[in-house]
């Protein structure tokens, strides 16, 4: 609790302002390092930490025992910093078994908020694929099951809603990335009772602010943001540029934290899922899960600065 009193006045006020608006709920880590930012899933009011963990590419390590241990180590630091939501897909090669290895090794099967996807054009194979995914993760049920990249979404959504009714999953979602098929996604969001939607959004690609994010807010759909660093390109481009001095007023000591906090501070965003295979990066990313979050004026300032230097 002492750390709460150590917050600067500005950070405390920003934090209080966001709390009052219902955006974040404070939690204190065991280590007492600060205020963990969580956001509410609109359909249930369940809280999830605003920074999650993606697994595309980074956790696809095959049967390499050293790499599997490294994945477990990344996950250990993720959980230790308060993280819960891990996202994967059958498309990501061996990422699912790697996550299962980590969960078992760390005894975190009950703590993880599991988000996976169904990814097959043949909806008859969907049930079998989800069963395989459960086995890979070593879980009885998934928290969230999403239709990957809108593939055969009509048939899959019907099955997922039925599974939710039967208690086999807790939430239903749908995903896309790189700004593809947004028109179709909008249509689905308007017509289907989704719990989650996942798409790409970052400080330079803000197309989602026009329709997707306001619509999600209006429809009460939780939003997961993928590709926060444009698959590393954004970080790569910014790493040789100076971080603004005022970044520390929003608790950012690195570009990754700066970019993640920008996304996480959008009122409609529930969780951002950067992917990494490095312990130092997951620790750095998870610092963005702690208050304060930028307010609207600060978000504008962040955009102006990045657009000026890129």
């Amino acid at each position: 609790m002492n750390n709460k009193h150590n917050l600067s006045r500005r950070r405390f006020l920003q934090f209080m302002g966001l709390s009052a608006s219902g955006l974040i709920v404070p939690q204190f880590t065991q280590a007492g390092t600060g205020v963990l930012i969580t956001k509410s899933i609109p359909s249930s009011n369940e809280q999830i930490p605003v920074i999650g963990l993606g697994s595309s590419r980074t956790f696809n390590v095959g049967n390499d025992p050293l790499a599997l241990d490294n994945v477990a180590e990344v996950m250990r630091h993720f959980f230790k910093a308060g993280g819960r939501l891990i996202d994967s897909s059958p498309m990501y090669g061996s990422s699912q078994p790697a996550i299962g290895y980590g969960l078992k090794k760390l005894a975190k099967i009950k703590d993880v908020f599991s988000a996976d996807k169904v990814w097959t054009g043949d909806f008859h194979q969907g049930a079998e694929q989800m069963q395989e995914s459960r086995q890979h993760w070593k879980l009885d049920t998934f928290d969230l099951m999403q239709v990957h990249n809108l593939v055969a979404w009509q048939a899959h959504l019907e099955i997922l809603f039925r599974m939710k009714q039967q208690g086999k999953i807790r939430y239903v979602g749908i995903t896309t990335s790189h700004g593809r098929r947004h028109d179709e996604l909008v249509d689905i969001m308007k017509k289907q009772p989704l719990d989650f939607v996942q798409f790409s959004y970052n400080i330079l690609d803000r197309e989602a602010e026009q329709i997707l994010l306001p619509l999600a807010k209006q429809r009460g759909i939780a939003v997961i943001i993928n590709r926060p660093f444009q698959r590393g390109d954004l970080i790569h481009e910014l790493n040789n540029k100076p971080l603004p001095k005022w970044a520390n007023t929003i608790g950012c000591e690195s570009w990754s934290q700066f970019l993640l906090k920008f996304i996480a501070s959008h009122p409609a965003v529930s969780c951002v899922i950067p992917a990494t295979s490095q312990v130092s990066h997951v620790r750095e990313n998870m610092q963005a899960c702690y208050s304060p979050l930028p307010d609207e004026a600060m978000r504008r300032r962040m955009i102006d600065y990045v657009e000026k230097i890129i």
């Binding site: 590419r57 095959g62 049967n63 090669g93 698959r231």
Partner: protein
Amino acid sequence: MGELTSYRLSDFILFSQTVYYRQFELYNQFVWPLHFLAIIFALIIIYALWKKPVWGGRLVALLLVVCWLWVAWVFLYQRFYQIHVVANWYALGFALQAGLIIWYGLIRNCFALFVSNQLRIKIGSALLFVAYIVYPFIALMTGRSWMQFEMFALAPDPTVLASLAILLFYKVPVSLYVIPVVWMLLSVSTLIVM
């Protein structure tokens, strides 16, 4: 088509360079000491191309069939498929090439007819040198662990390159070149964007 053009090749490569090369390190440990057999295969092929014995063509074809099927099953399907969701199709392509070599090399004995074009022979010899001798040292030359070496008869790239080189020595149908050329294009693209 609009959506398709929004994809980059890297969107389909869902593994890192580190993980890719570690596959060769683990694979080399797994197949040891078959590397000696691979060297014997390579030497037999050189002998057959040089001395042109009557039985040489069919033996070269048989050895290539073994190499392509081995790489298809043990590397591409059993190992690479773990990290690359389309590697099962690659394995199928390699098996298909083995089938074509069986048909043209073993059944129709096309590998009995040598070309006389010196340019083809020189290019073939150069490619064979790269596949046999240079390729295994690329890992070391690029600063990776020597254990990540790729060797003819065991790893896909040097096997395909050596096969292309060997085909240049013979009067064989163009259809035998299709899969090796497509593979080299795929492989080079993967290495560039990985």
